[in-house]
């Protein structure tokens, strides 16, 4: 199994993903440049955080038209597992692979701190080894992470179980205080209808070693290691 980490001009978390894949998990992986037109040979793709193409116009709006995106969209439509974190989540929303959009934080401030997120769905390749309602301690680092979807979309997400993570207290309560950016319904992560594409604002790659304060982020990768091939 080989994992691909996408790099756009302005991506900044790719080395953190690479470090975790290489030094912590020991998986086979490689970088995929945004001008590549094929993702052949990869079993799973990751879109890291950063400021792809400067986040000009809107976060992810220009990255969505990078040459690699056609291949990525085909990969996702064929059922390939795709995870977008932070800017990667924004890109997946702009590309229409995930519902909704990410807006300026309610506080108008950049938020860089630990948060807790409660696992709302274990029916994705990335959360299949998590327990339902499991609370994960993972950091966020963003200025535009306020999840928004129209009331109709939100209702659909809820009824079809596409909300994957919500910001919560350490003991799993969904409260306004636990919401770092004003996201609707405390939503921190969602998946597509096919459940193979997941996006979340927190950074699991920055919480994959005890030395860094939490290993909870590894759960998102662990699920893949144990289960991607059977999907």
């Amino acid at each position: 199994m080989r994992w691909g980490v996408l790099i756009f001009p302005g991506t900044w978390s790719h080395q953190d993903f690479g470090h975790v894949f290489q030094d912590v998990l020991g998986v086979d992986w490689g970088y995929v440049w945004h001008k590549d037109t094929s993702v052949a040979g990869y079993d799973c793709l990751f879109l890291p955080g950063g400021f792809a193409h400067g986040d000009y116009l809107r976060c992810g709006a220009i990255a969505r038209f990078s040459p690699v995106m056609d291949a990525l969209i085909r990969f996702a439509r064929d059922g390939g597992s795709v995870l977008g974190s932070c800017n990667g989540f924004q890109i997946l929303c702009e590309a229409g692979l995930l519902p909704g959009a990410l807006l300026r934080n309610h506080s108008l401030q950049y938020r860089c701190r630990w948060v807790h997120i409660r696992t709302e769905s274990t029916d994705t390749p990335f959360t299949q080894t998590a327990r339902s309602d499991q609370v994960l301690k993972i950091p966020i680092s963003h200025g535009e992470g306020r999840y928004y979807a129209s009331p109709e979309t939100l209702a659909r997400l809820q009824s079809s179980g596409q909300i994957v993570f919500r910001y919560s207290t350490p003991d799993g309560q969904i409260t306004e205080e636990a919401n770092p950016n004003g996201s609707l319904e405390n939503i921190a992560g969602v998946c597509n209808e096919g459940r193979n594409v997941v996006g979340l604002m927190p950074h699991p790659e920055r919480a994959s070693e005890a030395l860094l304060g939490s290993e909870d982020g590894r759960i998102l990768f662990q699920g893949l290691l144990e289960g991607v091939l059977r999907r």
Binding site: H106, S107, P151
Partner: protein
């Protein structure tokens, strides 16, 4: 030459904390009469197209595909004749 003047704004249903902050700033300055403030983007494009009808269709497509995100934003534009 044809020029497109495009306004992109957040939909009314989308909270605009930036607009709210500017409105409270105006109130602090003594402008109490501002009941709402929305912040958006203004874009000016110069077009090679000389036919206003075709230009309008092109700009509308640009707005739908890139310049605005229909999930969160609305757009309006006008096509004007300007000097070279």
């Amino acid at each position: 030459m044809l020029e497109a003047q495009i306004h992109v704004t957040l939909k009314r249903s989308v909270l605009d904390p930036q607009g709210d902050t500017v409105r409270s700033g105006l109130a602090t300055l003594g402008f109490q009469g501002v009941t709402d403030c929305r912040i958006g983007k203004f874009m000016v494009l110069h077009l090679a197209e000389r036919d206003p009808v075709k230009a309008r269709a092109q700009v509308d497509e640009m707005c739908r595909k890139l310049l605005a995100n229909p999930v969160i934003e609305d757009y309006v534009f006008q096509i004007c004749e300007v000097g070279e």
